[in-house]
Subunit: 589 residues, 2 copies
């Protein structure tokens, strides 16, 4: 029987000891007690309500019955309890029934939903995007019509972007929007969208679709796309459900994983929709919250890493096979075998380091809404820099962690009953949606590094260097410090080599993009582990530390990371340099 | 609609231009025309009979109906045509109805079966092991009873090793064998075996199980295990089917992939069995042919790489998305995007380089049966050295290639209909069975490198160096030569550092085993690509070369391998060195 236990201690360690959330939340008048209570309640909810539906949801999947999607058994009831617990409202504004907490609170607990049941978590996940868009671009009528029920979770949302011929390249989309009669806000939407998560289901009484479509006479390509709200059921004057809109689920996809999540082809046939945001600015409206949604996907990767680690370490402690050197037993648990330990430590290094990164990014999201324009701009710039790394690398590592989990289970890992192969199948999609890893890689090198001549990157690197100086004399930190300093310096050098390249066509950037993203990810993760190291040493270097084993474990994983994972960056760096040497005319200053 | 085309040109290039099979087969009086005819017929069979059942077999899976396993639709008919075509008999001895061809012929065509339908291929695959064991250890009665029908393919075989508590650690197995009455050859076998591929099915009229079990009063652990033959149906005096033996399939596993292959729990309840090989020597009998069966699994990895590459490149040529630098089109096929090209070239580098390695290993299998004891010993030693690399690395790379395939397909790759995610799910098991990658890694470092003090490794490295000297002046070879020379030299140095370690407990070896295996794999693959390079240059450096594009493509992939894949070995090497520095007391000479 597999289990999941929300890793409360590690979460609090990351929040308070690594990321200084204590100080951060003072600005929001949010007490540690309240945060602790929320996180602990979320832990229970994920363990008791969501995790027990994870395997059954995978086995049962969604079904399309007479044009309506039925979710797996228990999903609807869990969703009702999710609403009853007020979970959808956490970070939503008070004005529309939300609790008005900073966005980071929602991000922190999202880890638990995603570890416990990634497929189920897709249903609430998409509603948040609809809320964000309405809050930012909706007129007062649209807001009052849709927001209260979206905030409460009574209604859910979707994002309808992809079409068969238009995936990463949304400029190719063909769905049409035509104004209806004299009402300038109403449009008739016609077209087919694919890969629509939660496009139809029986979890909520209404589904609010955000739909990208083209108005008549709009320019071709991405500059001619507008954004519309299309509800499954129209809304009556009194705010209740009125007649069915002409948007239907044509089919559901049979996928590698995430079987409990409905992935729909949605057909809009003169469906009634309402323009939101400026004409022809649909893409930028849809992508306003891209950092938040990509952070949510990054959390999926980290959460599946944690889930895979927990299953793997539990199995490895129980499974007796082979003898370890010097153990004297007839048979030892495989957790004691060095190669199994290598795989477990890899999972841990990704999960714990990844968590401190998502918590840091979540803080940046909060600060991005600061009324202090300086703070807000700095935070937004930093978040934009780190999001492609977080989304790209944490989902890649989540997949690797699940894959290592199968390997730790051996042949048993290949059997569905083990549950570990489901994690691999589920997390696999996180590397594809919200922009593939390749898209993250291009975004990172071109828009986040080259476009500003490396300014944002250098600011980040300066912060790492300041951190290193500030902790220079910490007892036990020297190896970590030296290794981080060396790799950050290499990172800065190669980044400026890349920036200096004359590559109007961008083809060299595209060629190195993946290696540069992963390389940067390993360096950023090294900084996370350096911070974990310093936070742990703070306790260990105080004689009265009551929990030495916990912090010693952190140091062991830190050492493993620097010895056995960070060296991968050498391979990425060599690949980047091979491309630079092979192709580029470098302008060195 | 996905397709598969057996890559005949590449197979012949590997056989004749890289691996000198022309010369090799002269010793077997096997003409090029005959080999060509066999390989071309196998190509057709795999394309027409096996590939069309690949997706349907996955979707349908196997079923257990009233205690009997039913295979997916079409599998039985394809198997009959496989028998009719004489394919099971290729490399079997003439005496029992075989065609007496060298083993390599069977290995070469196996790639096509595995690319076309890995699940189906499991049914004939296991029969070969039963033949091998009977030929080596069977008395004349066992041989005449079982071999003719096993050779023809009329009967199939299994290998019953694993038990719930005994996987990689077979010493823990509990299945019992008790002599029956006065007949010293007959035993009553009782116990449960799990993960038995092709354990039951309706493809063949009889199934011959090879079963590891413990005789009364045998020593504990791996030295107390004997090998038995247990047929599903007993065989009458005239060689026909007699009554049902008491071995039944208790359940079938629901797996991540390979759904068309029956993975059974087999219950032996006083089943009648016949001892084969010496008492208590069952493990060594079962593992006599381990190099052959691991080579077969290595071919699975390479074959799935090829299959994934073909699907990916076809998709990438058709899929229009995004604009490439300077193309002037509104939208370009993704094959032109540098990051997609990176993934396609990675697949190609693994498939084509992997194939030349499996072909080389297949030649060594042939030579291992040479009547010249010197040739035979040298070949066996070389094969033993390379098999853990071939099995371990080619299956790891096969998984990576399938995974890259999904990434190339984007969101479409996550949909079952695309067919690419099936390759990932199917090939995943190849890293687990026949010894996990971790087991291959331990076998390699401890038994193949450290145990003989590096003698076999040094002989191999000397051969690489001779190859480099012999081709030193070849026009266009210098970059490849220098890079290979450098990495082989590093490999030799770190190998001898490892050999010199004082590590009676082997724990350091276990700690570095995985990195050392993968590191060695990249170096061996570099040698393969150097050979492909020289073979291609041979044609390109002749003015009248009529197929320049084909060989230029090889050179492009070669360059990609040395620039973008081989650098991974730097990461492995750094990890190994970190462990050595962190732990070992090195005795340097």
């Amino acid at each position: 029987m597999t289990t999941y236990a929300a890793p409360l201690k590690d979460v609090f360690f990351s929040l308070y000891d690594v990321n200084n959330y204590d100080e951060h939340y003072k600005g929001y008048e949010l007490t540690k007690d309240l945060v602790t209570a929320i996180v602990e309640q979320a832990a229970k909810f994920s363990e008791r309500e969501l995790f027990p539906l994870n395997a059954s949801g995978d086995a049962e999947g969604v079904r399309l019955v007479d044009g309506e999607v039925k979710v797996p058994g228990g999903f609807k009831q869990a969703f009702q309890r999710y609403i009853d617990g007020g979970w959808p409202t956490l970070s939503q504004p008070l004005e529309f029934g939300g609790q008005g907490l900073p966005h980071s609170v929602a991000t922190i607990v999202t880890e638990f939903w995603q570890s416990a049941n990634q497929a189920w978590s897709m249903y609430p996940f998409l509603g948040e995007g609809a809320c964000e868009t309405l809050l930012a671009y909706g007129g007062s009528k649209l807001k009052s019509t849709f927001l209260p029920n979206l905030v409460s979770g009574k209604w859910t949302g979707t994002m309808c972007l992809t079409e068969p011929q238009a995936g990463s390249d949304l400029g190719l989309l063909r769905t049409k929007a035509v104004p209806i009669g004299g009402d300038s806000d109403k449009y008739s939407i016609t077209g087919s969208k694919i890969f629509i998560s939660s496009g139809d289901h029986d979890i909520s009484e209404n589904i609010i679709h955000l739909v990208l479509a083209r108005l008549p006479n709009s320019p071709a390509g991405s500059r001619g796309i507008s954004l519309f709200i299309v509800p499954k059921f129209k809304v009556s004057e009194d705010g209740g459900i009125a007649e069915r809109n002409s948007v239907v689920c044509g089919s559901i996809e049979h996928k590698m994983g995430l079987n409990g999540s409905a992935t729909c082809q949605m057909n809009f046939d003169n469906a009634e929709g309402y323009l939101i945001g400026p004409v022809n600015k649909g893409l930028s409206c849809m992508f306003t919250f891209i950092n938040k949604s990509r952070l949510g996907t990054a959390v999926q990767g980290q959460a599946q890493t944690e889930g895979a680690y927990q299953m793997s370490v539990n199995y490895a402690q129980d499974r007796l096979q082979g003898r370890c050197s010097g153990s004297g037993e007839v048979v030892d648990p495989i957790v004691n075998h060095p190669d199994v330990k290598r795989m477990l430590l890899t999972q841990r290094a990704f999960s714990e380091g990844g968590r401190t990164l998502t918590h840091y990014c979540a803080k940046l999201v909060d600060c991005g809404s600061s009324s202090d324009i300086n703070v807000s701009n700095k935070s937004k710039t930093r978040l934009s820099l780190l999001i492609p790394i977080a989304k790209g690398c944490l989902t890649e590592w989540g997949f690797e962690a699940a894959d290592l989990g199968i390997q730790i289970f051996g042949g048993h890992g290949y059997i569905r009953e083990s549950g570990i192969e489901q994690r691999l199948r589920d997390v696999r999609v996180s590397r594809l949606y919200e922009g593939t890893t390749g898209i993250q890689a291009q975004d990172f090198i071109m828009r986040k590094v080259v476009a500003d001549g490396g300014v944002a990157l250098d600011e980040y690197i300066n912060e790492v260097m300041s951190f290193l100086s500030a902790n220079d004399g910490v007892d036990g930190f020297s190896e970590c410090r030296d290794k981080l300093k060396a790799c950050v310096s290499d990172w800065q050098n190669v980044s400026h080599d890349l920036i200096a390249i004359v590559d109007n066509a961008n083809s060299i950037y595209e060629e190195v993009a993946f290696d540069y993203l992963m390389y940067s990810g390993y360096v950023v993760l090294a900084y996370q582990w350096a911070q974990i190291c310093v936070a742990s040493l703070y306790y260990l270097n105080h004689k009265d530390c009551r929990d030495r084993e916990y912090y010693m474990d952190k140091l062991e994983t830190k050492t493993f990371f620097f010895h056995r994972i960070l060296p991968r960056s050498l391979a990425n760096l060599a690949c980047i340099n091979a491309v630079i040497e092979g192709n580029a005319i470098v302008k060195r200053n």
